[in-house]
């Protein structure tokens, strides 16, 4: 009976891509000149686990390529070749090649092998030329601190679990690799083997004892068994069994990303949990309302019970939401490579500083924030930071700095992208905006308003369109993507001192902090991130301009009043402006005053899609369920502003 290995392919690919990310991260830190042996080890382990897996699953090209790579890494690790720029470039390139190979194997697509074989021959050439590349470096605190010169006897006990084969591990491969180090004696223990009728072929019943006589250092021996997820001990023969269990931690978790044991869970399972908890919150709110009507001692007991329940539920909700959270390093990790490559191509000296990469946020937010961030960082590198000569002339350090920072602030995640480059040029932006017809020829704008213009569609201030940025689509898309996530972006810039972009995002897309508003018999929720202020207008504050459009003065500007009951076709409790309230809301850089009957409360609401069963509703982003079980619509402020401006234009 053969085991269908293809069922394990997904796990292999997932792990391999993670291993590649770990490799890339370690390679980038290797740049500094004197290589950290631990970094080389991390890279080596990652390459090794990909090689092992790909050989097991029959991806010959990957295995062959990683084999060459591993040989080179081995030479680096053993200090027979030292890390040069050429080598680190080749290694980075091989990460790309391996990624391509894995992608093509995953999609079962053929791939042009030319550049694979080219790079492979280059790597093999480097290994051959090691004598001429440079003299062997002295052994300084190498990995194998206990490297013995003479052959040592190693006792290895391998006690795999029943699902050993199902993990796609071929013990024969391990034995062969160990045998390559020296004389190997393998004893298989068959005592747990059941008879043929009850034997499950995919289950592992075997244990092995191995005795290896080899001069290889302990680290090398451990390396070979490191990626075996099994109980495994390595001891020097004759020594007391100071049995270190073999590191069960997969190679990808080496380095800073090390964490406690984890399991892979499908996102849909977590989402289901989040939904159920959302239900619980709603049911609780309903019960809470009912319990208020109960009098006497029973009512008191009931209410204190409800309070306890509420605390537990909040904790449950937070814990469940946290399971969807990932550290932002998942997104940040691509930037060191990107900035390095870009800076090289643009002949600039740029240092990227990353702060707060352990800040966690929702997986969906994380997936969607990547592209906007790439855009911002590219802009900083391309337009922000000047070339060294220019920087020197301006009395700055030759090396520019781009800072990527994430932090928690209140219930939000704040991501800042800043550079110490030239900053925004208000005159040029204004000139461009006038040329594009975004600003009237005689209109004067405050400095902040000019900076806001960079988010306007169709405005690129790049003097020349490079392949890096400046294609005219850009900051407006960035702002829209961020608004889609319920967040906002602001820019602060000072001429000559760089720019500073601040993105504020909700922690999660499942819950929104909202203000509930009443219009007629309906309740609406407006997200707190969109609300500026609510106020009661006096008749004198309101000015009627042509055809019934009303505006009011608010902090040095005039804002249009949007009567929500008109937009939504409702019967309000009042049509008189000073009897109701105006809520100033902001979306996509514009503000309007929403006229409503009343403000009800501020509350966290669970977001429910309207589109599962119905469809898009203009001016509405989603729905939620209130404490009394009724449905309230969540306003889409950006869309409301769009509707209002359409009406204005009409």
């Amino acid at each position: 009976m053969t085991i269908d290995l293809s069922q394990f392919h997904d796990a292999f690919f997932d792990e391999s891509f993670e291993a590649l990310d770990a490799m890339e991260a370690a390679l980038l830190q290797l740049d500094a000149g004197s290589p950290d042996p631990e970094m080389i080890n991390t890279i080596f382990r990652a390459a090794h686990s990909i090689k092992g897996g790909s050989a097991t699953f029959g991806f010959g090209e990957i295995a062959s390529f990683t084999h060459s790579l591993e040989t080179l890494l081995g030479e680096l690790r053993d200090r027979r070749i030292s890390v040069t720029q050429r080598i680190s470039d080749a290694l980075l390139k091989s990460v790309d090649v391996m990624r391509e190979l894995l992608l093509s194997a995953k999609g079962k697509q053929p791939i042009s092998m030319k550049f694979v074989t080219d790079l492979q021959s280059e790597i093999e050439l480097m290994i051959e030329q090691r004598e001429t590349l440079d003299a062997p470096a002295p052994v300084l605190g190498t990995v194998a601190a206990t490297a013995p010169a003479d052959a040592v006897e190693w006792d290895i006990a391998l006690r795999p679990g029943p699902d050993f084969f199902a993990q796609g591990i071929d013990p024969l491969r391990i034995f062969r690799e160990l045998a390559a180090l020296g004389a190997l004696e393998v004893t298989a223990h068959l005592d747990a083997l059941p008879d043929c009728r009850t034997l499950e072929p995919a289950r592992c019943y075997l244990r092995w004892s191995l005795r290896l006589l080899s001069p290889a250092p302990e680290a090398v021996v451990r390396e070979i068994i490191a990626w075996v997820n099994a109980d495994c001990t390595v001891t020097r023969a004759g020594h007391a069994a100071a049995a270190h269990p073999a590191p069960v931690v997969p190679a990808v978790q080496a380095g800073s990303a090390a964490e406690a044991g984890s399991i892979r869970v499908g996102v849909e399972k977590i989402d289901e949990l989040i939904n159920i908890v959302g239900e619980l919150v709603i049911t609780h709110a309903m019960l809470n309302q009912t319990s208020r009507g109960v009098t006497g001692p029973v009512g008191d007991a009931l209410r204190s019970g409800m309070q306890q329940l509420e605390r537990n539920m909040r904790q449950l909700q937070e814990s469940v939401l946290r399971t969807r959270m990932l550290p932002i390093s998942v997104v940040f990790s691509r930037f060191p490579r990107m900035v390095r490559d870009l800076a090289q191509r643009l002949e600039k000296q740029i240092e990227l500083r990353i702060v707060g990469e352990t800040t966690e946020l929702d997986k969906t937010v994380l997936e969607k924030i990547g592209d906007p961030l790439v855009h911002l960082v590219r802009n900083c590198v391309d337009h922000g930071v000047e070339k060294s000569a220019l920087r020197a002339a301006a009395g700055k350090e030759a090396t520019g700095t781009v800072i990527l920072k994430a932090s928690h602030r209140g219930g939000n995640v704040v991501i800042e992208v800043s550079d110490d480059g030239g900053g925004l040029d208000p005159e040029r932006i204004l000139a461009k905006a006038r040329a594009a017809g975004l600003v009237g020829p005689h209109e004067t704008l405050a400095p902040e308003q000019i900076q806001e213009l960079i988010f306007a569609p169709g405005l690129s201030t790049a003097e020349t369109t490079t392949d890096v940025s400046g294609r005219g689509v850009g900051m407006d898309v960035v702002r829209r993507n961020i608004a889609d996530l319920g967040g906002k972006i602001e820019v602060h810039s000072e001429r000559g001192h760089g720019s500073h972009f601040v993105i504020t995002l909700p922690l999660t897309l499942a819950i929104v902090d909202g203000l509930s508003l009443a219009v007629g018999d309906q309740t609406y929720i407006v997200p707190m991130t969109s609300t500026i202020e609510s106020l009661r207008l006096t008749p004198s504050q309101v000015t009627c301009i042509a055809d019934g459009r009303e505006v009011f003065g608010f902090r040095d500007e005039y804002l249009p009043i949007v009567r929500l009951y008109k937009t939504f076709g409702l019967t309000p409790r009042t049509r008189v402006l000073h009897e109701g309230l105006v809520v100033v809301v902001e979306g996509a850089g514009r503000r309007i005053g929403l006229f409503v009957d009343d403000l009800l409360s501020q509350q966290q609401v669970v977001i429910k899609s309207l589109e599962t069963n119905y469809g898009r509703v203009p001016g509405v982003s989603a729905a939620t369920i209130l404490g009394d079980g009724s449905v309230a619509l969540i306003l889409d402020v950006v869309d409301l502003i769009r509707i209002a401006s359409l009406r204005e234009a009409a």
Partner: protein
């Protein structure tokens, strides 16, 4: 009750009948999720007149269609005895749930396939009438809820649907 039935009524299949004005209609029982009394709905801006709004059905937001308005009644009232039939139909992305407001639910009856008479040509909109069946002297109009609600609530662009999800 979870799987919406798309197949035609098989031998001895059951049909839930309900009344709107003077007429009696029927839908296949596997489509029917539940029958509930009237409760206030949340209005949807710029929705068609017969789409009353949305309702919370155990955490799912369910649109409610007043079948009486759709079938041409003008004088409709919402009282505690007004009934919402919650049905499940198969959409492009899985089952979708809708509420249909009717005057009252009358019965569950067995219908043999041979008893179903084809509907006379009714022009536009007639596609959701699957056939007619006479039971105890009454004419029952069998409705195809997939056709009926599929036309009312066209499938949402899947790209769009991910925005608020």
């Amino acid at each position: 009750m979870n799987s919406p039935a798309n197949q035609t009524t098989a031998a001895g299949a059951q049909v839930v009948t309900f009344v709107i004005g003077e007429a009696t209609y029927g839908v296949d029982i596997p489509c029917v999720q539940e029958i509930r009394g009237w409760s206030a709905v949340t209005r949807l801006p710029q929705a068609p007149a017969d789409v009353l709004g949305v309702l919370n059905l155990r955490g799912t937001i369910v649109p409610v269609l007043d079948l009486r308005l759709k079938f041409g009644s003008t004088d409709v009232q919402y009282t505690p005895v007004t009934v919402i039939i919650v049905v499940s139909v198969m959409g492009a992305k899985g089952p979708r749930e809708y509420g249909m407001v009717v005057d009252g639910v009358s019965d569950v009856i067995d219908v043999a396939p041979d008893d179903i008479r084809p509907a006379p040509e009714m022009g536009a909109g007639g596609t959701y009438v699957r056939g007619l069946v006479a039971v105890a002297g009454r004419m029952i109009v069998l409705l195809d809820v997939n056709q009926l609600l599929g036309a009312e609530f066209p499938a949402v662009d899947p790209e769009d649907a991910t925005r608020a999800a």
